[in-house]
Every structure is written in C-alpha cells, then in structure tokens.
C-alpha cells in the first residue's frame, strides 16, 4: 500500500515536472510570440498604447511573479507592510512596470534576438536566462531574466537590461520615499506616477 502511494506520488511529481516548460524555452517562446504579434500589427508598431498594454498583459505578465518582484524592490520595509498595503504596492508596481515596458515595445518587432542555451540541473530552482539583442555596429545588449521555479511554472522576478536590474534600481527610490513618507506615501507616489503616464499623450513623444 505504501509502495503504491510512493509510486503514485512519484508519477504525479514526474508528470508535473514534465509539464513545466524549462525557463529558457519559456522565455524564447514568449519573446518570439510577442515579436510575431508586433510584426503583424501596424498599430503596435505605431505605439498604440492600449493595444500594447493588452498584449503585455496577455502574453508577458502571466510569467512574472509581480508580488515577489515588489517585495524585492521594497526590500526591508516589505515585512512592515500590512497585507492590504502589500497588495496595493504589488498592483501599482505591476502597473508601472507594464507602462514602462509598453513604451519600449514598439521597436521590438525589428530587433534581432539571440537566445543563449541554459545549462540547467533538475534540482535548480533559481536560474538566469540570458537573451541578447543584436544591433549592427554596437555591442549587443544583454537582457537577463532571473527566474524561479514555482508550482505554477517558472516565474520571472527580476529583469536586467544591459546589467541594470529593475529591482535594484527601484529599491533605492522606494527606500527614500518610504523613509520620508511611509508605505502609504509610496503607494500614493506610485499611483500618481501611473496616473500621469495614462494621461500623457499617446506614443510618449515629448
């Protein structure tokens, strides 16, 4: 009986394991899919904002652990936040990242990508997937995705573009605001930022 359970568990575990797309394949699949959509859509190339946001929401965001990302960016103050504050912070930070991401996506269709194969061991739960954006005459730009293994698949918790980590960048900004105005101050600062981005003219050209 015990043996039966052990076998059943092992089977279930291996089945779940088999379903999990490896992180490097996942990144490649998602990026190429987004690129394919942009190449076929003039509105997206022209920077249509609501359409771009919808694309990110549908294709990219499911693969991000935005609560974990927010926790890392808020840093030591995260533990002091109430569950409601945590939820609000994560929502606003997610919205901000989406908007920032959206503004750089219109040119993404024509970029040449190079995917680096990842050497991953079965027990790895935290890996970095490396992608490079190739451009003639200049050094390739590296885009590194820090990913962790969760029950719902591999999720990204930080992106480093040309060595600049989103999480680390925001950590200092967030720490300054929390020190001066508290967690609620940070929530309202993020809210105000997102509002100002939504009312900005489409395309963002200043």
């Amino acid at each position: 009986m015990q043996l039966f359970f052990a076998c059943a568990l092992a089977l279930a575990a291996s089945a779940a394991h088999a379903q999990l797309t490896p992180p490097d394949e996942l990144v490649k699949k998602v990026m190429l899919e987004i690129q394919r959509v942009i190449v076929q859509d003039k509105d997206l190339q022209g920077g249509d904002r609501s359409k771009t946001l919808r694309l990110i929401e549908e294709k990219a965001l499911p693969h991000f652990n935005h609560v974990g990302m927010t926790a890392l960016a808020v840093g030591v103050h995260w533990r002091k936040a109430t569950p409601e504050q945590k939820q609000r912070l994560a929502e606003e930070f997610r919205a901000l990242l989406m908007r920032t991401y959206a503004s750089s996506l219109s040119a993404f269709g024509e970029q040449k990508l190079e995917f680096r194969p990842l050497r991953i061991k079965a027990e790895d739960t935290d890996v970095t997937v490396q992608v490079r954006v190739l451009q003639s005459g200049s050094q390739p730009v590296s885009v590194d995705y820090d990913m962790e293994k969760t029950a719902r698949g591999w999720k990204c918790y930080d992106v480093r573009v040309a060595g600049i980590s989103l999480v680390v960048n925001y950590r200092t900004e967030f720490a300054n605001i929390v020190r001066d105005k508290g967690i609620d101050g940070l929530i309202s600062a993020l809210e105000a930022k997102n509002k100002s981005l939504d009312t900005a003219p489409a395309g963002g050209g200043k």
Partner: protein
Amino acid sequence: MKLRVLLLALALAAPGCATTGSDERDPLEGVNRGVLAFNDAVDENLLQPAARLYRNVTPRPLRDMVRNFFNNIDDLFIGANNLLQGKPEDAVNDWLRFAFNTTFGLLGIHDWASDMGLEKHNEDFGQTLARWGMGDGIYLVLPLLGPSTLRDTAALPVEWAVDPVTQHSRVDERNAMFATRLVGRRADLLAASRTLEEAALDRYVFLRESFLQRRRSMIYDGKPPRERPPAE
C-alpha cells in the same frame, strides 16, 4: 552620535534635498542635482532638438553608417584597454575588427566584422582603472558630460588624449566630427531617455542607480558577481 545629528541637520537644511542626503556613494547629491538640472536644460533645448532633427532628415542606413564609423574608431582604444586589462584575446578581436572594418568595411561605415562573429566590446580607461583595483569613488554628475564617478572622471584626460576625434588636427573638421558623433549618439538614445522619464519616480535617483549598475556590469564584462539585497 553628535556628528550624525549634525550631518542629518545639514542634509535636511540643504536646498533641494527633500528626499536626499542619505547615500554614502553620493555625498555631493545637492550639487549633483543642480548640475543634472543644468544638463537637462542644455539637453532639452539644444541636444534633443538637434538629435530629433538629425533623426528626421537622415535615412536610417546613413545613420547606421555614421554610427559604425565612429564606433569603429573606438575599437582601437577598446583593444588597448582590453590588453591593459590582461585580456589579449579580446584585444586581438578588437583590432581585427578595426583592421577588417576599416578596409573591407570602407573606413568603418560597415560593421561586417560583427557578422563574421568578431563581437563588439565596450571598454574605456575608467574600466581599466577599475580592473586594476581602483574603487568607484563618489558619484558625480559632470557639467555637459553627465553621470560619472570620481575614478571615471580621473580617467577622462587619458580618454581625450587618445581619442582620434578630439585629437584631430584640423579644427573645423574636428568640430564637425565631434558634433556629428554627439548628435548621432543622442539620437540613438532618444527612446531610452523617454523610458527613463516614464519609469522614474525620482529621475535623479533612477539615473544614478542605472548608471552605477551599468558601470559595474561593464567593469565585469556583463558578468558581475551577484549582489545580495542589503541587510539593514
């Protein structure tokens, strides 16, 4: 303790420092913010309009050629820095790039070396000093030149002394090349600077953090040791 209270009082009293004065890497934050405001004004009123005009009146292949031309010149010194940093293979790669692109690539306007697998590197004398063990020093925002560190600022005279553009003997040609390179590089960054505007809650801090992270990544050739979140 007394000193800390005094420093805190000073930091709070300093003009334009409502949310500042706490970062040990940036003791001159008040001054730096002032210089950044000045640089932004110059950028917005002179450089950005010029860059936008340049982007609008030139076809993209021409802009690629101009960028390649100047980047090719850089490869000479990039190779020298790689040699100084004890990476002879990279140096050979850079000089092969230069030799190939200058000849077959028609004075560097085509980057065919990249297509052949000779990858472009990014080195400068500040990075070499860092590899020799020199720390960043404090963060500085230089007038017109932008974000820097004390070490990278110290490296600047060397950079200028070996830059074929600034050392070019005919002044009119030198100025024309200098301006073209500057405007071209600003044009390449138009999209990036818009992203910065959008992403930052405090533009000054965002720029500083981005710059310091980018430099660190460059010093370690894109593979910096992982930093753990600071435990306070």
